[in-house]
Structure formats: structure tokens, C-alpha cells
């Protein structure tokens, strides 16, 4: 279970990206995070595994305060939380299997990774994961030779290698077309339902949120302005929508 308590994040530039945000994510949930561009979605997700250091507040992950963890504790926490990015963040020149295996680094003795060695079990697991995501034949292609959708699958495969209890996905489909978006989110949904992996996913389109999330939070200028169940989300009307997205926001055909 993940619990965020009074999280505040101020960038060195003075921008207050998150202000006193508190919420809970139960195990097995598919949590959608919505909000306008600049509302602090990426900042929130990156604070959870401390890719950026939060200014104030607590992040309790299964009873452990992430903000208090030292370097080795932090690495142990991070390897339980997979992360998927909008721009995939693959090492483009490396081949797919290496990218996938790099998700395993948190479990690999550092000295071994110097000579580029993973054990047999890891390599077999990598192939299995790729098979599960439907791209086993691409294992030895260079990452940048894949299409966008395939690259995002590699990104998910890398996260799966961590045996994650939770996956943080920062706009995983924002650079993909709608058909691919459904297929990628479908994969995440499968993982969520079959493997019980908690998913926390920021999304731009309300219809995607309504289709996949079991719970939703909304951010606006760094404040938590909405928190609701799947049913609440289905009932979001124009009034509520403007609450989250601001006065000027227009609802694009949901």
C-alpha cells in the first residue's frame, strides 16, 4: 500500500509543483492521475521513487518511509516499483534484450554488471516477458529500430523484470496513436488484473481514464482537486471537469 502524506515539492527555480498532496493507493488498484499540462503529474510520480527529492511530506510504501531511506534502502524500494515513461527512455543503441535485462540490475551484484553478465534465470525471464508482451522476435534488434508501440512494450517489459509490486506510468501513451494507446493500456490492465500489480498512471484523456482506472485523482496547479472511485469518474460532468481542468478547458469529445 502506498500512502502519500502532505507531499510538497518546490523546484529550485521556485515553482511549487505540488502543494500538500495526500492520498492512498490500495494494493491492486489502477489509479488514474489526471490534470492539465503543468499540473504536477510527472512531479508526483517522480517523487514517489525519489527520482526527484520531495521538499516536504512523507511517502509511505508498505510501512517504510521512502523519504527517509538511505541509498541502499532506496534502491531496494525502487526495484519493487517499476516505471514506464512517455518517451520510453530506452537505451536506443542497445538491443531489446539488454534493455529488458537492465530492469534486473537492482537484483544483480554491481560487479557482475560491469562485465555485462546476467544469470541464466534472468535471461530466460526476459524472453518470457517479451513473449508475454508479444514481441519475442524483436529480442535482438536494436531498440531504436522498433516502432513506438513496440518500444513502449519494451519499456513495460523492463519494468516487469523488476518483479514490481507497483508500476508508475507517466503518460505511457501520450506519444502513441489511439489504437496503440488502447493496446498498451490493455497490457497494463492485464498486469493489474492477472498479476495484481498496482498501477498508477497519469493520462491526458478522460475517456482513457474512464475506461481503465479503478480510482482517479485529479491535480490542478499542484493541488489535489479530485479523488474518486470508478463510478465517480463515469459521472464526471462538465462542472466537475472544469474544476479539475480549469475554467478555460474544453472537453474534447469523450
Amino acid at each position: 500500500m502506498l500512502e502519500i502524506k502532505n507531499l510538497t515539492m518546490v523546484y529550485p527555480t521556485g515553482t511549487v509543483a505540488l502543494k500538500d498532496v495526500s492520498f492512498k493507493v490500495e494494493d491492486g488498484e489502477f489509479l488514474g492521475v489526471i490534470g492539465l499540462s503543468g499540473s504536477g503529474k510527472s512531479t508526483l510520480l517522480r517523487c514517489i521513487n525519489r527520482l526527484i527529492e520531495p521538499t516536504e511530506g512523507q511517502i509511505i510504501w508498505n510501512g517504510v518511509d521512502v523519504t527517509e531511506a538511505d541509498q541502499s534502502e532506496l534502491r531496494n524500494i525502487r526495484r519493487e516499483i517499476g516505471m514506464v515513461f512517455q518517451h520510453f527512455n530506452l537505451v536506443k543503441r542497445s538491443n531489446v534484450i539488454t534493455n529488458v535485462l537492465s530492469g534486473r540490475l537492482g537484483y544483480t551484484p554491481p560487479a557482475w554488471s560491469l562485465i555485462n553478465r546476467f544469470n541464466r534465470a534472468d535471461r530466460e525471464k526476459a524472453i518470457q516477458v517479451l513473449e508475454r508482451l508479444g514481441i519475442p522476435e524483436k529480442a535482438h534488434n536494436r531498440a531504436d529500430s522498433l516502432s513506438g508501440g513496440q518500444q513502449q512494450r519494451v519499456g513495460i517489459a523492463r519494468a516487469l523484470m523488476q518483479d514490481p509490486k507497483m508500476i508508475l506510468a507517466d503518460e505511457p501513451v501520450a506519444s502513441l496513436d489511439p489504437v496503440l494507446a488502447h493496446s498498451i493500456l490493455g497490457s497494463l490492465e492485464t498486469l493489474n488484473q492477472e498479476d495484481g500489480i498496482t498501477v498508477m498512471c497519469s493520462l491526458h484523456f478522460l475517456d482513457l481514464v474512464q475506461r481503465y482506472s479503478t480510482k482517479v485523482i485529479g491535480l490542478r496547479d499542484g493541488h489535489l482537486v479530485f479523488e474518486g472511485s470508478k463510478e465517480d469518474v463515469q459521472k464526471i460532468d462538465d462542472e466537475r471537469f472544469k474544476d479539475i481542468y480549469g475554467e478555460e478547458a474544453e472537453r474534447l469529445g469523450a
Binding site: R75, F85, V91, R93, P110, N116, A159, Q162
Partner: protein
């Protein structure tokens, strides 16, 4: 009439006059302060540069005189230019307003101005110096500089007039053109360009150029084929002596025969010379058309050319024979000699040089030299890569900046580093003694040493950081802050001391007596230590253990500074240092190039690290990978292509460099080349130059191929 507003813009005489008196003043007055100051600075700098240069180039350098002459010439130029401008204005006014006439008149004005100045250069200069011959002393440079400055002066005055009347700021182009002309004319003078000399004396280069361009005769060894034939003659000829037998002609072999074979030598005394017996020499079997040499050997066997007694060089007739005559020369015969004195007449033919196919000594030396050069370049590149690679990570801003540490940890780290390094030194000494001396196994010991320093230093750092952090947590807050403040003070005082010392020695030192200097040094050193110490204490106390220091930024700054300094010193200079360090030879050159390569590659590498995509790094951090793993999996694959490309580029440079680094004793072909140059052995120099050219061309070919394949 909108077209003509361009020409007849309104202008303000007041501003023009201000600028005429002090360049830039009108602009400042019109509110364009930066423009005005720039103009004043440019005028002053250009004026000073002109005076200084012409003073240096004059035969009797005197800044005062040069300045006076320059100013007078400048005034003359200003007057001339003003006159020309008035003439142009009057002509243009009488004509129809016409943009093309305006443009043309500008060109004519410029060319005419310079032409008049050049034509009237002698009177202008003589007028300025009040004596004839000034042009010879100060050269045309001064004149052209003054003429350009005059142009600049009037331009900025006009500029001020326009600005003063509220026009928008005009283009700098005219000023830049005139300024460039001025600087070019100064440059012409300073570099001593002399075109007539370059043309008239070009033929002098022929002698060496021909030998350098085509030196291949020197590359091989040639044998000289010599044919010799001899005849024996007895001299002096005592009564009754008949001399040796006359030689018979031979077939298929060179032969000579001489008659008679007995005679008297030429005698010289103060009454004159009495020629010896005339000998008739016939011969055959020689190379037709060639010249043979006549030699005389006395009874002891010493050969000499018998001069004044007949032909000493004979041309062989087409059938291979010759006939000649020679009087027996004066040859020393020992007083004590007894019996018949037998001399030898030698006819020697030196035929053409024979190609042997063997390389000459010089060619061998050149080949060894170029091989040595290539190897110097190769080794320097190799060591350069090995050392620049880790260093480049320390010099990459994007990797280092995020490395933050709690202040307590940093202090503890430094405190722990000291015993760590100390232990490493002791350990190294122990290892050396274990091996029985450094020279027993230098490479192994060096590797162990690096491991010891990194390992023990790192251990010390971690231990120190841990201990101090624990200590601070255990202590009350204010005492903890005190500890941190104190430690920072101690840490900062050391560089403060050194800086103070450097300051007193470097900037203030020279005129002080030894005693005073010693006292002063300490004073400054202590002042430095106190200043930085107090600053450190304050920083440490106020930031406390919660404060964070970017230890990465510190390492980055130090590494970058060192790299920049090392890189800005040319390899040739490093070679001078290395020659003193390890002696003449290729090792010195290797050290010099390695140092420079580390710095250059370190910078290039770290810049390519800085430009990588940060996404994968973030992604790998999120998987729980540690720093080392992140570098291996996210950074290295991204930087490999630029690294390969930069390395090849550097290898290229290193081989080129290694061919000249020998000139200062760094081994390789340059070392031999510089000796040949000093001995005027231009053929050999040519060999070296050719080998370098061939090597560089091959290298270009290879490196561009590799680059095309991998990058």
C-alpha cells in the same frame, strides 16, 4: 521624393562637432552611451596600436616622435578627406538626386582618397616630420593607418550627427571596414611582408626545394665500380739499369703499358724546373667516352696526382684505347733507400654508380624514426584513452552535479581520506619492498598502487563520513554544528594557506629582501588560511548536518580546471618538461603527448557525455540500479560512437604531433629531421618529409574508413 530621404537625412551639427573633438562624445550626448564608449575605445586602441607599431618599425624608435608625426599625418588626412567630402557634396548637389550616383560617388571617394594619399605619400610624411626622408623611416604603414583612422573619425562624427537629430542608430559596417583596413595595414607591417623580395629571391629556394621534393636518390646505397690498371717504372735510372718489363696489351680487360720503364724524376730548385723523362702511356680495354684519372705512386705506395708534368685526366677514345704522355714527376724517395726504386703509374676509371638495392643509412634512420613516431602517437593515444575515459566522467556536469552529500558526510569523508591516503602510501612502500624495488615489476606495482589508493582512499572516505555522521547524530545539535563548522574551517584553511602563499610569491614577491619575503609569505599564507577558515566555519556551522553540498560539483570544477590548464599547454612544451624528466628520446615524447591527449580527450569525452539523452539514466535509476550500473548500461552505450570518433581524431593528431615533437628531443622522426636540417642535409630532410606525408595520408585513409564503418 521618398527615395531621397535616405540621402538628405536631417543631422545635428552640435553632435557632429562633439564627436569630432572627442570620438564617441556626440553619441554619448545623444544617449547612445555604449556606442559612444565603444567608439572612443576603438579609436584610442587603434591609434595607440598605430603609433606603437610604427615606432617599433622605425629605425629610431621613439614613441613621442612617432606620436607627433602620426597626429600630424592624421590631421592632414582628415583635412584631405573633408575636402573630398565637400567636393562630392557639391558635385552631387549639382546633379539630379540619384541613388546610383550616390553609391558610385562613395566608391570613387574611397578609392580616390587612398590613391591621393599613396601618390602624395612622400610630401605628406616629410611635411609631418619637418625633414625629408620620413617615408623611408616610417614606411607607408603609418600613413595608411592614419588615413583609415581619419575615415573612422569622420564616420563616427557623421554617425553622431545623425543620432543627435533623432535618426535610428546606423550600421557599423563602414566602421568595421575601415577598422579592418587599419588592422590589416598594421599586420602587414608587423609581419614584415615584402612581396618584391618574395618574388625576386624565390629562385634561392630552388637549391633546397629540389632536394626536398625529390630526395629518392639518397634513399638507396650505390656502389662505385672502379677499374684500375698499373705499370711499373724505375726512377731514378742508374746507368745500366733497364727497368721492369713493359706490359703487354690484354684482351677483354683494361691494360696500360708505359715506355720507357726507366727514367729520371723531375727536379725543381731555385734555378727552375727540369722535367723528368717523358713516358709514353698507351692503354686499352677501358669504357669508351669516360674520363680516367692518372695517379702516381711512389715506391712506398702513396698515390698522388702528378700535376704539371702532363695530362692527369684522359678521355678514352671510342674503341676503348688511349695514348698519352707524362714526364716522370718528382716523387719522394727515402735517402736511405737502396736498390732499384720502383714507382707505379695508375690509370683509374670510376664508372657509373651502381644501384645495389640496399637502403642508405639515412633512409634506414628515417624509417626507424617514422616507426618510432607512429608508435609514440599510438602509445600516447592508448594511454590517453585509458586515463581520459574515467576522468571524463568526473568532468561531465550532468553526471556530477546531482551527487549531493550531507555536509557532515563530506567533512567526515575528507577527514577519513587523509588516513586512507596515508595508509595507501605505506601500503605502496610495503609492496615495493616486497618486490625488492620499483624497477623489479613496475607495471604490477603501479596497478597495485592505483588499487590501494582508490580502495583505501574510498574506504577512508566512507568510514570518516559514517563516523562523523553517527557522531553528529549522537551529539546535541549545537555541538554537532560546532563539529561540522570546525571541520570545515580546518578543511578550508589548508587551501587558504596555499593560496595566500601563492599570492605572496606570485604577485607581490620580487622586490622584497629574503627575510622580509619570508615573513610576508607566512603573513599572507596565514591571512589566507584565516579568511577561508572563517568562511568554512561559518558555512559548516550554519548549514549543519542537514545542509547539502554538491560534492560532485566540486570534483567537476577541479577536474575541468586541471584539464583546461593541461590542454592549453602545447605538447611541444610538455615535451620540454618530459625531456628533463625522463631524458631525450621517444619516452619523453610519449609522456608529452599522453598528457595533452588526456586533457583533450577528457574534455571531448565529457562534453559528449553531457549531451546524452538523460531519459535512460532516469529509467535505470528507477529500476534500483546503482550509479556504476547506470553508467555501464545507460551512459556507455550512448557515448561509444562519439568516443570512437573522437579517439580516431585524436590518434590522427597524435601521429602528426609525434613527427614534430622530436624537434625538442621527444624522439621519433622529428629528432632526426632537426639534426639533418641543422647539417643542411636537405636530401635526407626530404626523405623524412616524404615519409611523414605518406604516413599522414595513410592515416587519413585508415581513420576515415574506420569512422565511416563505426560511427
Amino acid at each position: 521624393m521618398t527615395e531621397t530621404t535616405e540621402i538628405q537625412r536631417s543631422s545635428s551639427p552640435l553632435h557632429a562637432i562633439l564627436s569630432l573633438i572627442i570620438p564617441g562624445a556626440g553619441q554619448v550626448f545623444a544617449g547612445q552611451i555604449v556606442r559612444g564608449i565603444s567608439i572612443l575605445a576603438a579609436t584610442l586602441i587603434l591609434g595607440f596600436l598605430s603609433i606603437w607599431t610604427s615606432a617599433q618599425r622605425a629605425r629610431f624608435p621613439d614613441m613621442g616622435v612617432s606620436a607627433r608625426i602620426f597626429v600630424i599625418v592624421l590631421l592632414q588626412c582628415l583635412a584631405l578627406l573633408a575636402l573630398l567630402l565637400i567636393v562630392r557634396y557639391l558635385i552631387l548637389r549639382s546633379m539630379q538626386d540619384d541613388a546610383s550616383a550616390d553609391a558610385a560617388s562613395r566608391g570613387i571617394l574611397g578609392v580616390g582618397y587612398i590613391a591621393i594619399i599613396l601618390i602624395a605619400s612622400r610630401p605628406i610624411m616629410d611635411l609631418a616630420g619637418h625633414t625629408p626622408g620620413m617615408l623611408e623611416i616610417y614606411e607607408t604603414t603609418l600613413l595608411l593607418a592614419a588615413a583609415s583612422l581619419a575615415g573612422l573619425w569622420l564616420w563616427q562624427s557623421n554617425d553622431a550627427a545623425l543620432l543627435g537629430a533623432g535618426n535610428p542608430a546606423g550600421s557599423w559596417t563602414p566602421a568595421i571596414l575601415v577598422g579592418t583596413l587599419l588592422i590589416l595595414s598594421l599586420g602587414w607591417s608587423i609581419t614584415g611582408i615584402d612581396i618584391s623580395k618574395a618574388i625576386s629571391e624565390f629562385s634561392d629556394t630552388q637549391v633546397i626545394l629540389r632536394r626536398i621534393v625529390w630526395p629518392w636518390r639518397t634513399a638507396f646505397e650505390y656502389d662505385i665500380d672502379t677499374v684500375e690498371s698499373q705499370a711499373r717504372i724505375q726512377a731514378p735510372c742508374p746507368p745500366g739499369a733497364i727497368g721492369p718489363e713493359v706490359n703487354e696489351p690484354l684482351v677483354g680487360e683494361a691494360w696500360i703499358s708505359v715506355t720507357p720503364t726507366c727514367g729520371d724524376m723531375t727536379v725543381s730548385d731555385n734555378t727552375g724546373t727540369t722535367l723528368g723523362t717523358e713516358l709514353t702511356i698507351t692503354g686499352g680495354g677501358f669504357e669508351p667516352g669516360q674520363v680516367v684519372e692518372v695517379l702516381w705512386k711512389n715506391p712506398i705506395g702513396n698515390p698522388f696526382t702528378p700535376r704539371g708534368v702532363g695530362e692527369t685526366e684522359i678521355t678514352i677514345s671510342p674503341d676503348g684505347t688511349f695514348v698519352s704522355s707524362l714526364n716522370i714527376p718528382l716523387a719522394l724517395v727515402a735517402d736511405t733507400a737502396e736498390g732499384a726504386q720502383l714507382h707505379t703509374l695508375v690509370i683509374r676509371q670510376e664508372s657509373n654508380e651502381v644501384f645495389t638495392g640496399r637502403l642508405s643509412d639515412q633512409m634506414n634512420l628515417a624509417l626507424v624514426g617514422i616507426l618510432e613516431s607512429i608508435m609514440i602517437g599510438l602509445m600516447a593515444t592508448f594511454f590517453g584513452i585509458i586515463l581520459a575515459f574515467p576522468v571524463s566522467f568526473l568532468a561531465a556536469r550532468n553526471l556530477m552535479m546531482p551527487i549531493m552529500s550531507k555536509t557532515g558526510g563530506v567533512v567526515g569523508g575528507f577527514v577519513g581520506l587523509v588516513p586512507g591516503i596515508w595508509a595507501a602510501i605505506i601500503g605502496t612502500q610495503y609492496v615495493i619492498s616486497l618486490f625488492g624495488g620499483l624497477e623489479q615489476a613496475p607495471i604490477i606495482i603501479a596497478i597495485i598502487m592505483v588499487i590501494l589508493f582508490l580502495g583505501l582512499g574510498g574506504l577512508g572516505w566512507r568510514l570518516g563520513a559514517w563516523i562523523i555522521s553517527q557522531l553528529i547524530e549522537a551529539l546535541p545539535v549545537s555541538i554537532g554544528r560546532g563539529v561540522i563548522g570546525f571541520s570545515f574551517a580546518a578543511l578550508a584553511a589548508t587551501p587558504g594557506y596555499l593560496l595566500g602563499l601563492g599570492f605572496s610569491r606570485g604577485i607581490l614577491s620580487i622586490p622584497l629582501s629574503v627575510e622580509v619575503a619570508a615573513v610576508n609569505e607566512q603573513t599572507y599564507a596565514i591571512i589566507g588560511a584565516v579568511i577561508l577558515g572563517v568562511a568554512g566555519a561559518a558555512f559548516g556551522y550554519f548549514s549543519g548536518n542537514e545542509g547539502e553540498v554538491s560534492i560532485g560539483a566540486l570534483v567537476y570544477a577541479v577536474t575541468r580546471t586541471i584539464l583546461n590548464i593541461v590542454r592549453s599547454i602545447e605538447p611541444i612544451i610538455w615535451a620540454l618538461v618530459a625531456v628533463i624528466w625522463v631524458g631525450l628520446g621517444p619516452f619523453a615524447g610519449t609522456i608529452a603527448l599522453t598528457l595533452h591527449t588526456i586533457a583533450a580527450l577528457g574534455k571531448l569525452y565529457s562534453e559528449s557525455i553531457e549531451s546524452i539523452d538523460p531519459g535512460p539514466i532516469e529509467a535505470l535509476q528507477a529500476t534500483g540500479a546503482n550509479r556504476l550500473q547506470t553508467i555501464v548500461y545507460a551512459v556507455v552505450p550512448q557515448i561509444l560512437p562519439p568516443f570512437i570518433s573522437f579517439t580516431i581524431y585524436r590518434w590522427d593528431i597524435n601521429v602528426r604531433m609525434s613527427t614534430i615533437i622530436g624537434a625538442v628531443g621527444g624522439g621519433g622522426i622529428g629528432f632526426i629531421l632537426i639534426q639533418w636540417i641543422r647539417l643542411f642535409q636537405y636530401d635526407a630532410v626530404g626523405l623524412g618529409v616524404w615519409l611523414i606525408a605518406v604516413t599522414v595520408a595513410l592515416l587519413d585513409f585508415v581513420s576515415s574508413n574506420i569512422r565511416a564503418r563505426y560511427v
